[in-house]
C-alpha cells in the first residue's frame, strides 16, 4: 500500500491520563505492521506533525470545559469516522466522579479562593457533545481490542466489542470467582473484552468498560446486598467510571417522578 491510499488517522486527547494513547503506542510492540496499513497524521503525544486531513479520528479523554466543545465539533466535521478511545471518552470515566459532588464545592476544594481562574464544567463523555460512531471501552483500552477495532474499520466492519458480561471471559480463564473468595465483583453486569484482567489479577471488576446493554441490574444489586453491601456502598461501587450515566439516570428518574 502506498502512503497515499492508506487511511489517514489522527489521535486527539482531551481530559485524560493519556494511558489509552500509551496503549496505542504499546500496541506497536506486538503489531509494528500497524504503521504499514494506516497513515497517522496527528498524534500530539508522539509526533510533531499536525495533519488536519484525516478520515478516522480517535478521541481520548472526556470533555470537561465548554471551550473544548468547539475543537470536538471541528474534529467531527473533518472525520468520516469518530471513535471514542477509552472510557473517559466513551463514558466519562473517573473524571466524572467529581460530578457526584456539587461543582462549586469541588472547585473550592481544589483551587481555594482562586477557583474562578480555572474554567471547568461537569465532565462528560464526548458522546454528550458530538455524535460518535464507535467506542473502544476500557480504562485503559485493551491493546488487542484496539488492534481488532482498527482491523474492523479497515474492513468496513463494526469493531467487535462484546456485549456480554465479563464472567464469560473470567470463566474461560478458569479464575476462582471473587464471590467464592468472599469478595464482590461487577463482572456479571460489565461489558467483557478485557479478558477479565482484574479478576485474573485478584481484584474485583470495577466496570471500567461500562455496563452491557441489557444487564439484570435488580438481581445484581440483590446479589451485592446479600454480600453485605449497603445501598450506598453499591452506588459507590457502581459509579467509579460511570458517574455520568448514573447521574443522568437519577436525574431522569427525578424529573419523571416530579411530573
Amino acid at each position: 500500500m502506498s502512503q497515499n491510499n492508506k487511511p489517514k488517522i489522527a489521535f486527539f486527547d482531551f481530559t485524560s491520563c493519556e494511558g489509552c494513547q500509551l496503549t496505542v503506542i504499546d500496541s506497536l510492540q506486538t503489531h509494528p505492521e500497524l504503521l504499514d496499513v494506516v497513515n497517522i497524521v496527528q498524534f500530539r503525544e508522539a509526533m510533531t506533525e499536525k495533519g488536519e486531513d484525516y478520515q478516522v479520528a480517535f478521541i481520548e479523554g472526556s470533555c470537561t470545559r465548554e471551550s473544548d466543545e468547539a475543537r470536538l465539533k471541528e474534529i467531527r466535521q473533518q472525520a468520516a469516522v469518530v471513535v471514542a478511545l477509552g472510557t473517559c471518552a466513551h463514558l466519562g470515566g473517573v473524571n466524572t466522579l467529581k460530578s457526584l459532588h456539587p461543582l462549586p464545592e469541588v472547585r473550592r476544594y481544589v483551587y481555594g479562593d482562586k477557583a474562578e481562574w480555572y474554567e471547568t464544567y461537569d465532565a462528560r463523555p464526548i458522546e454528550a457533545v458530538i455524535p460518535v460512531d464507535f467506542a473502544i471501552p476500557g480504562c485503559p483500552i485493551d491493546r488487542n481490542e484496539f488492534i481488532g477495532a482498527v482491523k474492523a474499520l479497515l474492513l468496513g466492519k463494526k469493531p467487535p466489542i462484546p456485549d456480554y458480561p465479563l464472567c464469560v471471559e473470567c470463566k474461560l480463564k478458569e479464575n476462582v470467582c471473587l464471590f467464592t473468595r468472599g469478595q464482590v465483583c461487577l463482572g456479571p453486569v460489565t461489558r467483557a473484552g478485557c479478558d477479565a484482567i482484574c479478576p485474573t489479577y485478584g481484584q474485583s471488576c470495577e466496570a471500567c468498560r461500562g455496563y452491557i446493554t441489557n444487564p439484570n441490574d435488580t438481581s445484581m444489586r440483590n446479589l451485592l446486598a446479600e454480600h453485605e453491601m449497603s445501598v450506598d456502598e453499591i452506588t459507590t461501587m457502581y459509579t467509579m467510571f460511570t458517574a455520568y450515566q448514573v447521574r443522568e439516570k437519577l436525574m431522569q428518574a427525578e424529573s419523571a417522578s416530579g411530573r
Binding site: C167, L172, E174, N216, T218, S219
Partner: protein, 348 residues
C-alpha cells in the same frame, strides 16, 4: 475386560514414559482449586482432586480453535489446521466420561465434524473412580453417572497403595502394555476393589426427588411453568452455567484477520444460549428475548431436547453449573421445584 494393578509408586514412571509421546492433560492444583492442564511434570498430577471449573472437554473442543487458515491475496486460498496432537486425558471423573460420550455422539451424528473427530480419535481417556462426592453440588448418583462401564480406555480405582486398572479398549490395553508396569489382579485385589466400590455407594446422596427416567416427561409437562419467569428474574445472563458445563457444545464462528487484511483464520469459539445475542438475527429480532426463555431452553436441553436428538441426557450431574451460578440457579433445585409443582397441582 481384565483387571490390572498399578502400584502408586509406579504412576510417576507411567507418566514419565507417556510425556514424550503424548500431550498429557490432567487435574493440577491451581488458584486454590483444581484445573485440567497440560502436565509437564508428573508430580503435578492430582488424581485425588474434587472438581474443576472447566471440564476436560476443553481438550476435545477447545475454547477457541482454528477451523482453517486463509490467504486472501489471490481470490482466496484456504488451509485446514494441522492434524490433532496425540493426547491422553488422565484422571477424568466418570461424569465427564459420560459427557464425552454425548459429545462423541453429537459431533458424529448427521454430518461428522472433522475437527472434533480428529481430535477425539487422537485422544485416549484414563478415568478415575470417584470414591466420595466432589462437594454438596454433585448429583451424579441421581443422574446415573457415578460409574461408567464404557467410554474410557483405562479406568483407575484407588485401592490405597495401588490402583485397580480396568481396561476399557484395545487401545487402553496397548497403552498399559507399552508404558506401564502393572501386574494382574489377585483375588485379594478383586476383593479390595469390591469393598472399595461397596463402601463408596452410600457416601453419595440421591439428590433428585424422583427417578431421572421421569425427567423428560416432567419437562414435557412444565413447558409453561411459572418457574421459568422466576428464574428469568434472578438469572444474570452471565453464561457461567453453560461455559462450565461438560455437555454444552454450542459455538460461534468468526473470522480473525491480520492487519494486512489478507491472512487470517476462521475460528470457532464457545458460545452460550444464555447470552442476548445467541438467537438474535440481523435487524435485531431475538428469538429468545427473555432470560426466562433462555433458562427454559437451557434446562430443556439438559433434560429433554438433547435426549430426544441424541439419546443421551444433556446433564451428567457434575454440579459445575451449580457451583458457578451466583444466584443459586441449579439443576437439582429447578428439577425438584418442577416436580413439586406438578405434585401440588396433582398432575403426577
Amino acid at each position: 475386560m481384565s483387571l490390572h494393578i498399578l502400584k502408586k509408586e509406579d504412576l510417576t514412571e507411567f507418566l514419565t514414559k507417556l510425556l514424550p509421546d503424548y500431550r498429557v492433560a490432567g487435574p493440577v492444583k491451581e488458584n486454590g482449586g483444581f484445573a485440567f492442564q497440560e502436565i509437564r511434570n508428573p508430580a503435578d498430577l492430582e488424581l485425588d482432586y474434587t472438581t474443576t471449573i472447566l471440564p476436560p472437554k476443553k481438550f476435545l473442543l477447545p475454547t477457541r480453535e482454528v477451523l482453517f487458515n486463509f490467504d486472501n491475496s489471490n481470490g482466496g486460498e484456504i488451509q485446514p489446521p494441522p492434524p490433532a496432537i496425540p493426547t491422553i486425558i488422565f484422571g477424568m471423573h466418570t461424569c465427564d466420561v459420560h459427557a464425552v460420550q454425548l459429545l462423541d455422539q453429537v459431533f458424529s451424528a448427521g454430518h461428522t465434524d472433522p475437527n472434533y473427530v480428529d481430535r477425539r480419535n487422537q485422544t485416549l481417556i484414563i478415568s478415575v473412580e470417584c470414591l466420595s462426592p466432589c462437594d454438596v453440588h454433585s448429583f451424579c448418583k441421581s443422574m446415573g453417572t457415578l460409574s461408567a462401564d464404557e467410554g474410557y480406555d483405562l479406568h483407575l480405582t484407588d485401592l490405597g497403595d495401588s490402583y485397580a486398572v480396568d481396561i476399557g479398549t484395545q487401545a487402553g490395553r496397548q497403552l498399559l502394555e507399552q508404558y506401564a508396569q502393572t501386574s494382574m489382579a489377585t483375588p485379594d485385589n478383586v476383593q479390595r476393589l469390591n469393598n472399595v466400590l461397596g463402601e463408596k455407594w452410600p457416601r453419595f446422596p440421591y439428590r433428585l426427588d424422583f427417578d431421572v427416567s421421569d425427567l423428560p416427561s416432567l419437562l414435557n409437562m412444565t413447558m409453561k411453568s411459572p418457574l421459568w419467569n422466576e428464574l428469568g428474574e434472578r438469572c444474570l445472563a452471565c453464561a457461567a452455567c453453560t461455559n462450565v458445563c461438560p455437555t454444552c457444545f454450542c459455538f460461534d464462528v468468526r473470522d480473525d484477520v491480520e492487519l494486512d487484511l489478507r491472512h487470517g483464520q476462521r475460528v470457532r469459539a464457545w458460545d452460550s444460549c444464555q447470552l442476548d445475542e445467541f438467537a438474535t438475527v440481523a435487524g435485531g429480532h431475538n428469538f429468545r428475548t427473555s432470560r426466562a426463555l433462555r433458562q427454559r431452553h437451557r434446562f430443556m436441553r439438559k433434560g429433554k431436547y438433547i435426549l430426544e436428538a441424541h439419546n443421551y441426557l444433556g446433564c451428567v450431574g457434575c454440579g459445575r453449573c451449580a457451583r458457578a451460578c451466583l444466584v443459586d440457579i441449579t439443576p437439582v433445585g429447578v428439577f425438584n421445584d418442577l416436580h413439586r409443582q406438578l405434585e401440588v397441582e396433582g398432575r403426577l
